[in-house]
Symmetry: C2
DNA sequence: ATTGGCACTCAGCGATTGTGAGTGCCAGCA
DNA sequence: TGCTGGCACTCACAATCGCTGAGTGCCAAT
């Protein structure tokens, strides 16, 4: 009640114009049709006539917040209009306690990281009815929990890297010589001593000089192991991303092929996905990129809502949803934030 | 030349009708438009007039191989028509040596199983321009190569299962007591002795009685490990499937939303995917399911081309492509067969 | 600053018509 | 018996037209 400052007092102009913009965004998102002045005064209690609204609309159009598809049609928000809506006008709709509980228990049931990620994607698609993207915890931001070496055959060793975030990477290593089990045990022990709790990024330095600790004739195998280790942990770190809910793109609109095809195509490219998710390093904060704010030409008609996530506010990866610019921002932001938060807690428990 | 048996000799009727059917399928697949009698005689050297073709077409329609979208339109093949085409009329177009080499080298570059599967999907989508599905080697048809137990924390053990097909499964095991490293080593050694080269399906029997070999006070941990092992290897075997090329669905046609949405949705369901890939156990053989032959209502407008794959003719999983019934069957079949074959070879090398 | 009134615009819809691709049938021919 | 040219017929699709109504911008009045 305190916020209702000036009902009919002063400087109303700007305030109401923004209320009109908000109303336009909300109605357009709901109906997917251009909204006219008449419809606005009917559906929202703005306390003025449609003519007044028309004046406001003309002003809003002048400032670039809304546009007309054609002369005798209502207005639709521009990207700039959505931006204003997201930054200033939208109140974040909190999820219901029931929803929160559902999220929590659904994620709790997961048995391993793959499962957690898969379930997160599912949650996001169902909560937002949009395309969801979840990145696996980045190795670059994880720490080494354990290194395992397994001799699979006389000339083959499997290198297994386990991160504190639950990620498990494996690489085959072709051994230059017959595998020597005691040596393997020795290497394993030293690696674990040296690497325990080190960041993946520091693996290279941490193992520096390790090779020289072994007698000359053992070094080829040690070198091969270290090379693969460094490649997996530092040089060619494999980012993994999972996409789900592509079916939701089919609810796009009428102009299908042109709009959806490039988007679907983009969503198959790991690189694109990672850049879409962005570079944000904070958890808790939710980022929104609207239409043309996006760096990819194919994504000009879509908006992206993302957030970092990780244990204890340490963002180790990102997740988000992709949908048409005409989307329910408050709802999507709430869902993304909630899933990111619970996902972080799950990781913290690991 | 030898095959051209009866140019104007005897029993031509049926033979030419089938040639007409083949021509209709080929033209329709190429143009996506109903094909008329005139167009047929122009584009194919059938040696007869369009009127004759019309008679043949009437007969083919009578027999249910082709249909007319509406009276004054050309004909399109029915599912039955495609079936005949696939079974009798199509010559399998072999891939070019260049294509074969490309497949081989692209798969060779893969570093681990994940990578191999991912690359296979990519190959299939690019070769066929359709949606590709590749199943990971099924654990139920794999053998145990190695079991690893890693103590990650005082009360947590990571169980790692490595299959001869390259699959690696991991499960967390919460230990009922402080983890005892020598015990772990003992369990690991016995498990590997007992399980080596056993089929996953036989794991349960193979470890039968193992628990009793340990002193009473050690048994809780052993029991927990065995329970998780059995669950992962036998009871809740996780099938994994990767889908790619969904963007290709966007090239479907004009009647988008109705057709594509359900298909996209179906492709997000693991269960559906696995049933689509089918139960075939032979490698080498390529299966085709056309339109209504499919068991899912949502898939009535699509065809599925699948094959088993695996090392040395032992099918350990399936792969395939999904596309509109109007698809290039010879090409798709050739691609599926080729990728399955090379994939099998790669697995054999593992 | 707001409002009612009014003239104006124009996308979308339905009805109408013309065109052409394609068909089925038939009588004549090899 | 099988093939062919000819012909009348059908009907989807495209183009054209007029109408309607939602929505606008502007203005004079309050």
């Amino acid at each position: 009640m305190a916020g209702r400052a000036g009902k009919g007092m002063v400087a109303m102009g700007d305030e109401r114009r923004m209320a009109v913009l908000r109303a336009i965004v909300e109605d357009f998102v709901a109906s997917e049709e251009p909204v006219g002045s008449k419809a606005l005064v009917d559906r929202h209690e703005l306390g003025v006539s449609s003519a007044t609204i028309r004046n406001d609309m003309a002003a809003l159009e002048e400032e670039g917040y809304i546009a007309q598809p054609h002369t005798s049609a209502g207005r639709i928000p521009t990207d700039k209009g959505y931006r204003m809506f997201v930054d200033r006008l939208a109140s974040v709709r909190p999820l219901s306690p029931a929803e929160r509980r559902a999220i929590h228990s659904f994620l709790e049931e997961a048995v391993d990281l793959d499962n957690v990620v898969e379930r997160s994607v599912r949650l996001l698609t169902q909560l937002t009815r949009q395309v969801a993207i979840v990145q696996y915890p980045s190795l670059g931001r994880s720490r080494v929990r354990h290194v395992e070496l397994v001799a699979l055959s006389p000339r083959r060793v499997l290198l297994i890297l386990i991160a504190d975030t639950g990620r498990v990477e494996q690489r085959m290593v072709d051994s230059p010589s017959e595998v020597d089990e005691p040596l393997l045990a020795d290497v394993r022990a030293r690696l674990n001593t040296v690497l325990a709790d080190h960041a993946f990024a520091d693996v290279q330095e941490a193992v520096d000089g390790l090779e020289e600790q072994f007698p000359e004739e053992k070094r080829p195998l040690v070198a091969a192991l270290l090379a693969t280790l460094i490649e997996a942990a530092v040089e060619r770190v494999e980012e993994r991303v999972v996409v789900g809910g592509a079916a939701n793109l089919a609810r796009y609109g009428k102009d299908f092929p042109q709009t959806v095809h490039p988007v679907l195509e983009a969503l198959e490219e790991q690189v694109v996905l990672l850049r879409l998710l962005g570079e944000a390093t904070a958890t808790e904060k939710v980022y929104v990129r609207i239409g043309h704010e996006n760096e990819f030409a194919d994504m000009m008609t879509t908006s992206v809502v993302t957030s970092g996530y990780g244990p204890a506010n340490r963002a180790v990866a990102h997740l988000g949803v992709v949908g048409p610019t005409r989307m329910d921002y408050p709802g999507s932001m709430a869902a993304v934030r909630a899933v990111a938060r619970y996902l972080g807690r799950i990781l913290a428990e690991q």
